[in-house]
């Protein structure tokens, strides 16, 4: 094939582009790095101040409040197991990484989703980009992430955000566009402004769907922790990664189990926050 059509030099283009970015946007990248690093560090330090047993009790109570006794019990036993196995510190680091990625996904994703829900154009442009973000293998953008953000937790956060943000954006769009047309028509007929329609009608009605998106983002961010550890992010992922490279099956299982426990706790708790919102509508 190369015989009659020269190879398109996409690889060269990307390299050139990345180099250009690294040189010209160095200041911006440094700023982002410092910012993200301090958020994650702040969380790790903050969590670290809390004695592990108090942390366990607080999370258990939270699980009880938003969902049910069973999940609260699971939380308590699960966290105890993690501490017992000696993965408490890495677990806190993982939690900080995941929460940072999720918070950024929410802060960027919801406004983007709202924007795309209002403008068909934006949605049409965003759709393929979102597909790209989710399907391009994460390893591929780990490499430029190291270029831009050095080694450590920050490229891990960035990679997690890229991978985890799409569901929040998508389900924000979906939730808003799912509001029945006749309800939108009614708000128009009473002379609402765009902002009033959004804040008073569309967002409240989209909330359960948006919460489902956030829940998915959390799960995806968690699924990234091992990959993030490859660029130097500390935490449970790093333990798994180390165990894999050193073929320590038992250790790898322990660290992996800890990730599963955290995943289940975060999933059930955030799932029920969404549901509670819905029921609040009925019961009040």
């Amino acid at each position: 094939m190369e015989q009659w059509f020269p190879k398109i030099p996409i690889a060269d283009w990307v390299d050139t582009f990345v180099n250009w970015l690294t040189v010209h946007l160095a200041v911006a990248f440094d700023g982002i790095t410092t910012f993200l690093q301090s958020i994650v560090d702040g969380m790790v330090i903050g969590f670290g101040y809390i004695p592990s047993y108090i942390f366990m009790i607080l999370l258990t109570l939270l699980a009880w409040k938003v969902s049910n006794k069973g999940i609260a019990l699971f939380t308590l036993i699960g966290l105890f197991l993690i501490a017992n196995l000696g993965y408490w510190e890495p677990m806190l680091e993982t939690l900080a990484l995941v929460l940072t990625a999720v918070i950024i996904s929410i802060v960027l994703g919801i406004p983007l989703g709202i924007w795309a829900s209002q403008k068909q154009m934006v949605k049409q442009i965003a759709s393929p980009i979102l597909d790209f973000m989710q399907t391009m293998p994460a390893f591929v953008y780990l490499i430029p992430a190291i270029f831009f953000f050095n080694i450590g937790v920050v490229p891990g956060v960035v990679a997690s955000v890229i991978f985890a943000m799409p569901p929040t954006i998508r389900l924000t769009i979906l939730g808003i566009q799912q509001v029945p047309a006749d309800i939108i028509e009614a708000t128009e007929a009473f002379g609402s402004t765009t902002i009033q329609r959004l804040l008073k009608v569309q967002l409240p009605l989209a909330m359960p769907t948006i919460m489902a998106g956030i829940n998915q983002s959390i799960m995806l961010a968690l699924s990234m922790v091992v990959i993030a550890s490859m660029v130097g992010a500390p935490g449970l992922g790093a333990d798994v990664y180390r165990a894999v490279t050193q073929i320590q099956i038992g250790k790898g299982f322990e660290a992996g189990l800890s990730i599963v426990v955290i995943a289940i706790i975060l999933d059930r708790v955030t799932q029920n926050i969404g549901k509670n919102n819905k029921q609040g509508g009925n019961a009040l």
């Binding site: 029945p180 309800i183 708000t187 128009e188 007929a189 009473f190 009608v201």
Partner: protein, 427 residues
């Protein structure tokens, strides 16, 4: 400007590529062939009509005839392709967004077929919505919303959520929400179509009652002729996006302007069109200051066993029976002593469908009285049933009862058309 609240001038809506289609339409091309030639759908075709302040204007037509599209152009939820919509003399089609918003906030409210309530808000919060977006202070807004809820009979439900209410109650909330911001114009798109028949009739009654106090200008969409006849002051009939006839219910029934209207009108349920005034018989009554002897003589002459008693102004006081009159005569008592008050009455404009029950349980013919309690006539069971069976003789052309002169004319028309729905004597 004139007293017209709403003036619609040549309004057209074409869905899809409109330029070519509009031209064809103005050249008189029918909807179907425009769809074939251009792929564009004609929603509304050059509609022109006026709605007077304070009237209920019904727009009726089969599914797909363009009713919803037309009514949505009155507050520009749908932008007309062509034409003018004047609200209080001002064309809203050319209006800027902000001004249009003010018109929607202050002049026009809307009630929707599927209620379109906000499920996350209480009944009260739903009712407040229109005021809330205007920035009315919380207290004023609650006060107005509560007044509106009281009007539609939903006091006590203000903290419920819509899905806790029945369909009829939900639509009351929809109505209260529309009433709360005091707009002059109420647009109602099949507002009662989603309700079951009994509730629907209640809501129609209630709307009429509210309207008698409020005097809003109401544009009411329906595909149900019975409903249109019941509540409409005037009715516009639509077909394929065009208005084919506009007139009072009587005009539409008696003078269907074409086959389409005629077919629509054909199977009208007479019980929902005919009123007590149409079927009542002349009432023989005895004046209260007469003696029982006179009363008894009248009953004998007429061959009846009871008779109504009126005062000097013809106001109904009650009834007496022949046997009571005889006894009173023997004992030298007056009519007033044997009078049975509290007889069952209806008004001349009561629809037949609403008076069956009274007529069937009454022991003496039900009295028809006007708003001043004057006796207009009586309802004889046979005549009521006869009228329903389509028996022309059972229906008054008002020769016997005291009637306005205009009726003669009416009669001729009635006869020539074979249907007989004379003007209501009160109207």
């Amino acid at each position: 400007m004139d007293s017209k609240k709403i003036s619609v001038r040549n309004v057209t809506k074409i869905f899809g590529k409109s330029k070519k289609a509009l031209q064809l339409l103005q050249e008189g091309e029918p909807k179907q062939s425009i769809l074939k030639k251009t792929g564009a759908t004609v929603g509304v075709n050059q509609a022109t009509f006026d709605v007077e302040a304070g009237e209920i204007f019904v727009i009726m037509g089969l599914s797909g005839s363009g009713k919803s599209t037309l009514v949505r152009m009155l507050n520009r939820l749908i932008d007309p392709t062509d034409g003018e919509v004047l609200i209080d003399g001002i064309d809203i089609v050319k209006m800027k967004k902000e001004m249009l918003r003010d018109v929607r906030r202050q002049k026009i409210s809307m009630v929707f077929q599927k209620f379109a309530l906000l499920p996350h808000r209480t009944v009260l919060e739903n009712t407040e919505y229109g005021l809330e977006v205007q920035g009315v202070p919380k207290e004023t807004r609650i006060e107005k919303a509560m007044t509106a809820l009281k009007l539609v009979g939903l006091e006590g439900y203000e903290f419920q959520f819509p899905k806790q209410l029945s369909g009829g109650m939900q639509q009351r909330v929809g109505l209260a929400r529309a009433l709360a911001n005091d707009a002059d114009i109420l647009l109602m798109d099949e507002a009662f179509s989603a309700l079951d028949p009994l509730i629907r009739k209640d809501m129609q009654d209630e709307l009429l009652e509210l309207q008698s106090n409020m005097k809003k200008t109401i544009v009411f969409i329906t595909h149900d002729l019975d409903e249109a006849l019941r509540i409409g002051d005037r009715i516009a009939l639509m077909k394929d996006g065009s208005i084919v006839q506009i007139g009072t219910p009587e005009e539409i029934l008696m003078n269907p302007s074409n086959d389409y209207v005629e077919r629509f009108v054909e199977d009208v349920d007479l019980s929902k069109v005919l009123t007590a005034g149409h079927v009542m018989k002349r009432a023989e009554a005895v004046s209260v200051e007469k003696g029982p002897r006179v009363a008894l003589q009248m009953m004998k002459d007429l061959g009846i066993s009871s008779i109504y008693v009126v005062d000097r102004k013809k106001q109904l006081l009650g009834a007496i029976t022949a046997s009571d009159a005889k006894e009173a005569m023997d004992r030298n008592k007056g009519i007033i002593d044997i009078l049975q008050a509290g007889v069952s009455t209806v008004t001349p404009d009561t629809l037949l469908t609403d008076l069956f029950e009274k007529v069937s349980i009454a022991t003496i013919p039900v009295a028809v009285v006007d708003h001043k309690q004057r006796l207009n006539g009586i309802l004889v069971r046979g005549a009521v049933i006869g009228a329903l069976a389509g028996n022309n003789d059972s229906i008054n052309h008002f020769e016997q009862a005291q009637v306005e002169t205009a009726v003669d004319q009416e009669d001729k028309e009635v006869k020539s058309h074979g249907t007989m729905v004379p003007q209501n004597p009160n109207s």
